[in-house]
C-alpha cells in the first residue's frame, strides 16, 4: 500500500461569542447500486423514463406480490464492502421500516436494520500531501429507494412517479469521524471515487444516484477526544440530521450554517433538539422537517416475505479475486513506478479513464514527461473545449507517438506542441504527420556545421565579442536556428558554437 504515512488534520475550530467550538460529523451516504433491474423486481432502473413505466406490480405494492432479490445487487454490495476493507456478513436479513408517505406504496421500506450485509470498514480521506483523515465505516446495508413526488405541476395535487421505487441503494454509514465541512466533501469525493473504480455506483449526484444525510453536532474542544477514547456519545453534543444533500457546494453551506445555528442556541443557554432538517439553498439555511418527526416510530420488524440472505465464503472470495486496483494503490504505484509527484498522481488517478489513458501513454516511456503532457496539454485542451477524457479526439497511442518523436530527438518540444494541435484537429499517425509537414529537427551536424561556418566567416566582429564574453555566443545559436528554420536541435547547436569558438 502507500509508503507515505499520514497524520490526521487538526479539527476545525469555530469561534463563538463566548467560547471555541468544534464540529463532529457523521454521514449516511445513499449510493444507487449500478444494476439493470431493481432490488426485488424485474423492472428497469433506467433514469429519465416515462413516469411509472419502470414499475412492476411488486414495486407498486399490488396485493399478493412477493419480492425476489436481485443477486447482482448483493454482489455489488459485497464488492463495495471489500473495497472499503470491510467485514462481509455471510448472513444478513431484511427488515421492514414502516412509515406512510405517498412515494412509498408498500407503506414500508425493505431495509437491513438488525443484520446488515457489510460490517466495519474504513476510508482514507486525503486532505493535503501527508495529511489524511481515516473515516471509519460502521456498516453498509441494502435497501429500497422510494419514488419521486413532484409538487409544482398542479396547485392542489402532488404527482407521484414510482420509477425509482424499489431501486437498490447501499446505505454507507460512517462513524462520527469527520471534523469539518471540507473533510465532509473530501469524504464524499473519495467514497464516490472508490465506488466508480469498483463499478458499483455511477456516483451521479445530479441524478440523485449519490445522496448524503449529514449528522452535525458541535462540542467544546477536548470533548471529541473523550468520545474517541470511550466511544461514549454522551461526550458529544446533540446532533441534527440534514437530509438528502446531493451537491458538494450545498453540503458545505448547510454544515457551516447548521454549526453556527447550534452554537448560537447553546451560547444563549438553550438546548439542541435532535431532529431531521432540510437545507434550503435559496435561503441558505436549514429548517426542521416536522413531518419526518411524527413518523420517527418506524416499528422495524423482520420482513416475513424474505428469508435471511445467506451467502457463501467461496462466492465472496471469487468477488475479492476480481477486485480492481483501487485509488490508493494506483496512486502509490504511479508515484513509485512512474516517479510522479503527489499532486500529479492525485490528478491522474481521480478517475479510471484518466488513469488508464495516462498509463497507456507512460508505458515504456518517461513517466514524468507523460504526466506533464497528459495533465498540461491534454487535460488543458479538454477543459478549454469543455470535453471529458472519454471524448478525447487524441488517443493515448497518438500522444505516445508524439513523445517518442521527442525522445528520439526527431522533433523539438515546440514542434511537439504544434504536432499535438494538428493531431487533435486532423488526426493521423504522429510520425507520418511530422514527416509530411517537414517537422524534423536538424540533427545532421554537417548541415548545422555548414551554417555555422558561414556565419563565423561573415561576422568576425561577433566572433571577437563572443570570445571576450561567452554570453554573447547565444547570438550564433539564434542565427543558426533561424537559418535552419527552427529545425536545428538547440542543444546540438550550442555545443557546436562553443567548440568552434573555443569557449
Amino acid at each position: 500500500m502507500l509508503d507515505v504515512t499520514y497524520s490526521p488534520p487538526k479539527p476545525k475550530v469555530i469561534a463563538g461569542a463566548r467560547q471555541d467550538w468544534e464540529l463532529v460529523i457523521g454521514m449516511e451516504i445513499h449510493a444507487q447500486v449500478a444494476s439493470n433491474a431493481k432490488l426485488f423486481s424485474g423492472a428497469s432502473t433506467q433514469f429519465g423514463a416515462e413516469p411509472n413505466s419502470n414499475v412492476a406490480f411488486v414495486d407498486a405494492a399490488m396485493p399478493g406480490m412477493l419480492p425476489v432479490i436481485n443477486e447482482f445487487c448483493v454482489e455489488l454490495a459485497v464488492r463495495t464492502g471489500l473495497g472499503l476493507k470491510a467485514a462481509i456478513n455471510l448472513r444478513s436479513a431484511f427488515d421492514r421500516k414502516n412509515y406512510f408517505y405517498p412515494d412509498l406504496p408498500q407503506g414500508y421500506q425493505i431495509s437491513q436494520l438488525y443484520h446488515p450485509i457489510v460490517g466495519e470498514g474504513e476510508v482514507l480521506v486525503e486532505l493535503a500531501p501527508g495529511v489524511a483523515r481515516l473515516v471509519r465505516i460502521e456498516r453498509i446495508h441494502l435497501e429500497q429507494d422510494a419514488g419521486k413526488s413532484i409538487h409544482d405541476m398542479d396547485p392542489t395535487q402532488s404527482f407521484v412517479d414510482f420509477n425509482r421505487t424499489g431501486v437498490a441503494l447501499m446505505e454507507i454509514v460512517s462513524r462520527p469521524d469527520i471534523r469539518s465541512a471540507e473533510e465532509a466533501t473530501a469524504y464524499v469525493t473519495k467514497l464516490r471515487q472508490i465506488l466508480r473504480y469498483l463499478g458499483t455506483c455511477d456516483g451521479n449526484m445530479q441524478n440523485g444516484n449519490l445522496r448524503a444525510d449529514v449528522n452535525v453536532s458541535v462540542c467544546p474542544p477536548g470533548q471529541y477526544e473523550k468520545f474517541q477514547a470511550t466511544q461514549d456519545f454522551s461526550h458529544l453534543g446533540t446532533r441534527c440530521e440534514i437530509k438528502n444533500m446531493n451537491s458538494m457546494r450545498f453540503m458545505t453551506q448547510a454544515i457551516d450554517y447548521e454549526a453556527r445555528r447550534q452554537i448560537a442556541i447553546l451560547e444563549d443557554g438553550g438546548t439542541i433538539t435532535q431532529e431531521t432538517r432540510l437545507y434550503d439553498p435559496d435561503k441558505g439555511e436549514t429548517r426542521s422537517m416536522r413531518s419526518k418527526e411524527e413518523a420517527h416510530d418506524y416499528r422495524y420488524f423482520p420482513d416475513p416475505d424474505l428469508l435471511p440472505l445467506e451467502i457463501e465464503q467461496a462466492w465472496v472470495d471469487d468477488i475479492r479475486a476480481s477486485m480492481p486496483e483501487l485509488p490508493d494503490a494506483k496512486k502509490a504505484r504511479f508515484m513509485s513506478g512512474f516517479g510522479l509527484t503527489d499532486y500529479d498522481a492525485n490528478v491522474l488517478t481521480a478517475d479510471l479513464e484518466s488513469a488508464g489513458f495516462f498509463e497507456a501513454v507512460a508505458q515504456g516511456r518517461d513517466g514524468k514527461q507523460a504526466a506533464n503532457w497528459v495533465i498540461n496539454e491534454l487535460f488543458g485542451r479538454l477543459n478549454k473545449e469543455g470535453l471529458t477524457i472519454a471524448d478525447t479526439p487524441l488517443s493515448a497511442a497518438q500522444l505516445g507517438g508524439v513523445l517518442d518523436l521527442i525522445a528520439a530527438g526527431t522533433i523539438s518540444g515546440k514542434m511537439a506542441k504544434d504536432l499535438f494541435d494538428i493531431l487533435w484537429t486532423e488526426g493521423g499517425d504522429p510520425a507520418e504527420v511530422a514527416a509530411a509537414r517537414g517537422m524534423q529537427q536538424v540533427t545532421d551536424t554537417g548541415a548545422i556545421e555548414a551554417a555555422l561556418d558561414a556565419l563565423i566567416a561573415a561576422n568576425p566582429d561577433q566572433v571577437a565579442k563572443a570570445q571576450q564574453n561567452a554570453k554573447l555566443a547565444g547570438w550564433f545559436t539564434g542565427q543558426v536556428l533561424k537559418a535552419t528554420g527552427g529545425k536545428a536541435n538547440p542543444a546540438v547547436v550550442n555545443a557546436m558554437v562553443a567548440a568552434k569558438l573555443g569557449l
Binding site: S35, N36, A37, S41, G42, A43, S44, E50, P51, N52, S53, N54, V55, A56, F57, V58, A60, V68, I69, N70, E71, F72, C73, V74, N98, F100, Y101, P102, S149, I150, H151, M153, D154, P155, T156, Q157, S158, F159, V160, D161, F162, L278, M289, S291, A295, D297, R299, P302, L306, L307, P308, L309, E310
Partner: protein, 95 residues
C-alpha cells in the same frame, strides 16, 4: 404487556386507521388480549435452540439482473383514484 388507550391511539395513528375516541378502550383491551396470548410463547424454554425462519431448510430465492418487467403504466395506474399524465395524483404534500 397491557396496551393502554394512549398506545392504542398512537398505533392507530401510525397505521393511518381512524379510530373514534370512544372505541379506543375496547381496542386497547383487544390488543392487550392478543399480546397476552403471544406472551404465552415466552413460557417455552428455547435455551440452546437456533432461531429458525422456516420449517423447511430453504435458501432465499434469487433473480438475475435482467429487466423482465415494467412498461405497464396503464395497468399500474388502473386502480388509482386519480392519475394524470402518467403520474399518480395525490393530495398535495409539501415539506
Amino acid at each position: 404487556m397491557p396496551i393502554d388507550t394512549d398506545t392504542a391511539r398512537k398505533v392507530a395513528k401510525l397505521a393511518r386507521i381512524r379510530v373514534e375516541e370512544t372505541d379506543l378502550a375496547a381496542l386497547a383491551q383487544d390488543l392487550s388480549g392478543i399480546i397476552g396470548f403471544m406472551e404465552q410463547l415466552n413460557e417455552v424454554d428455547v435455551t440452546g435452540v437456533e432461531p429458525m425462519t422456516s420449517v423447511t431448510p430453504m435458501r432465499l430465492a434469487r433473480r438475475n439482473d435482467v429487466v423482465t418487467d415494467g412498461n405497464i403504466q396503464a395497468a399500474v395506474l388502473a386502480n388509482a383514484p386519480d392519475a394524470r399524465e402518467g403520474f399518480f395524483a395525490v393530495p398535495k404534500v409539501v415539506e
